[in-house]
């Protein structure tokens, strides 16, 4: 069985590396992108099985990414947002636009793993 492909959009290299290591260890194929523009290009070319994205990224924010994915690409793939700015406005707008989940920084990699697997399982089961 092919591993699930996850696109990790995070501009903090150390955190991205840590999360990538943890996700790969769990059996996912992780692609890391450090800015929104690259993420947009990637998903326009080929959609992953799930996206984990920081909200505050250069060029293209996580919120815009959700909007692009849901309204332009008409895709329903799971998308989990991460942000240090876990204010109510961010969370509400993320969910309104169609994000599947939201995790505030600092991130617990173990918690993230569980959430990702849950979303993927739910999406592909249906």
């Amino acid at each position: 069985m092919e591993p699930r492909k996850i696109l990790l959009a995070e501009d903090d290299e150390m955190l991205a590396s840590l999360l990538k290591y943890r996700l790969e260890k769990e059996g996912y194929a992780v692609t890391v992108r450090s800015d929104g523009k690259a993420v947009k290009q990637d998903i326009s070319a080929q959609l992953p099985d799930a996206i984990i994205s920081d909200i505050m990224m250069p060029y293209f924010s996580g919120i815009e990414l959700v909007d692009y994915l849901r309204n332009n690409l008409k895709s329903d793939i799971p998308i989990i947002l991460i942000s240090a700015a876990s204010n109510e406005e961010n969370v509400i707008s993320a969910f309104k636009l169609g994000a599947n989940d939201f995790i505030a920084k600092p991130v617990s990699p173990s918690e993230l793993l569980i959430r990702v697997s849950k979303e993927i399982e739910r999406f592909y089961r249906t």
Binding site: D12, E13, M14, L15, S17, L18, K20, Y21, R22, K25, K105, P106, V107, S108, P109, S110, E111
Partner: protein, 679 residues
């Protein structure tokens, strides 16, 4: 740039190694176990390099901010396992305050508990940044850190630092705060303040006695913090102490005290607050006292400033029946007192009671106790208008209410006397206000007062205004008759029957006609709208140039009522208007009688001629009654006059007859005339 790139590449190289260390598990596959051991050997080789150690420490410091849970704890362990904390210890011994500060920060962030004692030394460091960093580190490293800090610190703890420390305490897991009242006895005022803040933050309300003692502290900040605690913890027992210390406090503390009393105090504190309002000279403190009163008992003090149409009650207390109550509780004193809600109700009740009395004793026409006054003018001084309730005033109003409840005529007579006495004691401004109020809202109950003003007032303008008010009140018929009789008595003398209603009607009609004549002048209204005497003077001056005969009644009225300066101009205007009249037209031809003198003369002439005819026994030359429709003499009267031998008035012969004669009559007349001519 090179250093940055080198550093970046090193970080990229180290990142997976650190991830491997962090997520390594003994249950991992053999390959991974092998890889982990290789990396451990490799990294031990690198650790000899301080540059590598610094980069490694930076990576771990960055990561600990972004990860949480078990990963963070593993990261802290890794930090100490790699011996990176030794580098941080070395930083503490640096002479640079920035380096020391960085060392303390690193140790506290990586939760190196062993560094606690080392960092504690910096609590009383003379360098502020180091000291503050040490304070936070102490609090973060151990749960009892705050106790050590409060015990040992000698320096001030700024409010910002206090907040940072409280935030640090909040980040501790399973933290059980100590009883901070223990530090209320500290010699460091900032420690006391911080302890008070912590007591409030952790709701440690068992410290009431200590907090109450602190309101006696010399330091205002501590006082205010203690008062704030008393307010927050609702220490009602401390209220008496607060009131006791009140008069020795600064204004700022007083405001806090009053605020606390307002929040936790009961109605038994109202007298104290009233006393504060009356004795305090500081405006904000007075305001706070009033606000506290309203906080304890809502709507105790009501706003009065800029309230249009404020209902005021003019109370005239007869001195005989109200000896124990000060008679100064009149309009004037009520104006000065701030109304309170209960008094407002009383005012309305009193007016209603008065109405009842008035109905009952209308025939006697003796009730003259209240004058309802509608104050429509804005106060000249913008003082703060809210004042506290005055028990004395309340009591006196209540007494006055019960006084009015009796129908004792003697009391009512005394009331009348009270009114006149009070009026006599009024200042000119108050008199003006009283007349204003009577003009606005007076009714027939004020008749006696108005009569008194008309008779006894020295100021002619006030007399005239009172007279106008009396006229406009629409008095009852009896009053009008009396007035008309008095007028006619003065005007026509005893020859006219005083009680004949026709005469009264004539006088009334005359007065109305006179008013109409005065109002014909376009200057009349303008004159009354003029704000001051100079404006009035200029206005009357204009009549000289542009006035005509319609302005003469108004000018004549001015001659009677206006100040001397205006009188002179009015006199001049009358002369000029008279000069401008066309020749042959005189005052008597005016369509409307100009003044009472003209009519007086006419009536006197008429009466005199009647008397003369009676004396001589002669029949008067009767003016022929003329049919009002066509101005001709009726046929029957012609026969009657012929029979009685009454002669026609020669001047009226051309009036003609109002009946038609047959053609035969004219033919007979013509034939007779022809016969006469032939003869």
């Amino acid at each position: 740039m090179l250093s940055f790139l080198k550093r970046k590449s090193k970080r990229e190289e180290l990142a997976p190694i650190i991830s491997n260390f962090l997520f390594h598990s003994s249950e991992d596959p053999k390959e991974e176990q092998k890889e982990y051991v290789e990396l451990k050997i490799k990294i031990r080789e690198y650790l000899g390099n301080s540059y590598f150690k610094r980069i490694l420490a930076d990576i771990l410091l960055d990561l600990q901010k972004d990860v949480s849970g078990g990963t963070r704890q593993r990261l802290y362990r890794l930090y100490t396992q790699l011996g990176l904390h030794h580098s941080a210890y070395q930083k503490l011994s640096s002479w640079r305050w920035t380096t020391v500060s960085k060392g303390i920060l690193e140790l506290s962030q990586m939760e190196v508990v062993d560094a606690f004692q080392l960092i504690l030394k910096f609590i009383n460091d003379r360098r502020g940044v180091v000291r503050k960093q040490a304070e936070i580190a102490i609090v973060l490293l151990r749960h009892d850190g705050i106790e050590h800090l409060l015990d040992t610190t000698k320096y001030a703890i700024s409010e910002w630092q206090q907040l940072k420390l409280i935030e640090a305490l909040g980040s501790l897991k399973n933290y059980r705060p100590p009883k901070f009242k223990a530090w209320l006895i500290s010699h460091n005022n900032d420690v006391v303040l911080f302890a008070l803040r912590l007591i409030k933050h952790y709701n440690q309300n068992e410290a009431a006695p200590s907090i109450a003692e602190l309101v006696k502290h010399k330091n205002d900040e501590i006082k205010i913090a203690a008062i704030s605690c008393i307010k927050d913890f609702n220490f009602i027992e401390a209220l008496s102490l607060l009131k006791k210390i009140y008069w020795n406090c600064s204004s700022f503390v007083k405001i806090q005290l009053l605020d606390t009393i307002g929040h936790i105090g009961g109605k038994d504190n109202l007298p104290f607050l009233l006393e504060v309002e009356q004795k305090e000279t500081d405006f904000p403190v007075k305001c706070k006292a009033l606000a506290a009163m309203n906080s304890i008992s809502p709507d105790t003090v009501l706003p009065t400033n800029d309230i249009v149409g404020d209902l005021e009650v003019f109370v005239a207390y007869p001195s005989q029946t109200n000896e124990d109550k000060p008679s100064e509780k009149t309009t004037d004193s009520i104006d000065k007192e701030r109304p309170i809600a209960d008094e407002k109700e009383l005012e309305i009740d009193e007016v209603e009671v008065f109405d009842l009395l008035d109905t009952e004793t209308n025939d006697q026409d003796k009730v003259e106790t209240f004058t309802v006054k509608y104050d429509v003018e804005e106060p000249q001084e913008l003082d703060f208008e809210i004042k506290p309730a005055d028990d004395e005033l309340n009591a006196s109003l209540n007494d006055s209410l019960s006084l009015l409840g009796s129908d004792d005529i003697e009391t009512l007579d005394a009331n009348e006397k009270g009114i006149t006495d009070d009026y006599g004691q009024m200042s000119a401004e108050d008199k003006n206000m009283l007349i204003d109020s009577l003009e606005t809202g007076g009714d027939e109950r004020e008749t006696k007062l108005l009569e008194f003003i008309i008779e006894h007032e020295d100021e002619s303008e006030l007399r005239f205004r009172a007279f106008n008010v009396m006229k406009s009140l629409g008095k009852n018929e009896d009053d009008e008759k009396v007035m008309a009789l008095e007028t006619s008595k003065e005007t026509y003398g005893s020859a006219l029957a005083l009680e004949e209603p026709e005469e009264i009607e004539v006088t009334q009609e005359f007065n109305e006609t006179k008013d109409l004549a005065i109002k014909q002048s376009i200057f009349h209204e303008l004159y009354h709208y003029a704000t001051d005497i100079n404006a009035k003077e200029i206005l009357v001056g204009e009549i000289i140039e542009v006035g005509d005969e319609r302005d003469i009644p108004f000018l004549e009225q001015l001659l009677e009522t206006a100040p001397n300066r205006i009188k002179k101009i009015a006199q001049k205007a009358i002369v000029q208007i008279e000069k401008r009249r066309p020749e042959g037209q005189n005052r008597e031809e005016d369509p409307i009688p100009l003044d009472t003198q003209t009519v007086d003369e006419a009536v006197e002439n008429l009466v005199q001629s009647d008397h003369d005819l009676e004396k001589n026994g002669e029949l008067p030359a009767i003016e022929m009654p003329i049919d009002e429709d066509d101005g001709k003499i009726p046929l029957e009267l012609c026969f009657l006059y012929d029979e009685l031998g009454i002669l026609y008035d020669q001047e009226k012969e051309d009036l003609g007859l109002n009946f038609e004669l047959a053609d035969e009559f004219f033919r007979t007349i013509i034939s007779e005339n022809l016969n006469d001519q032939e003869r």
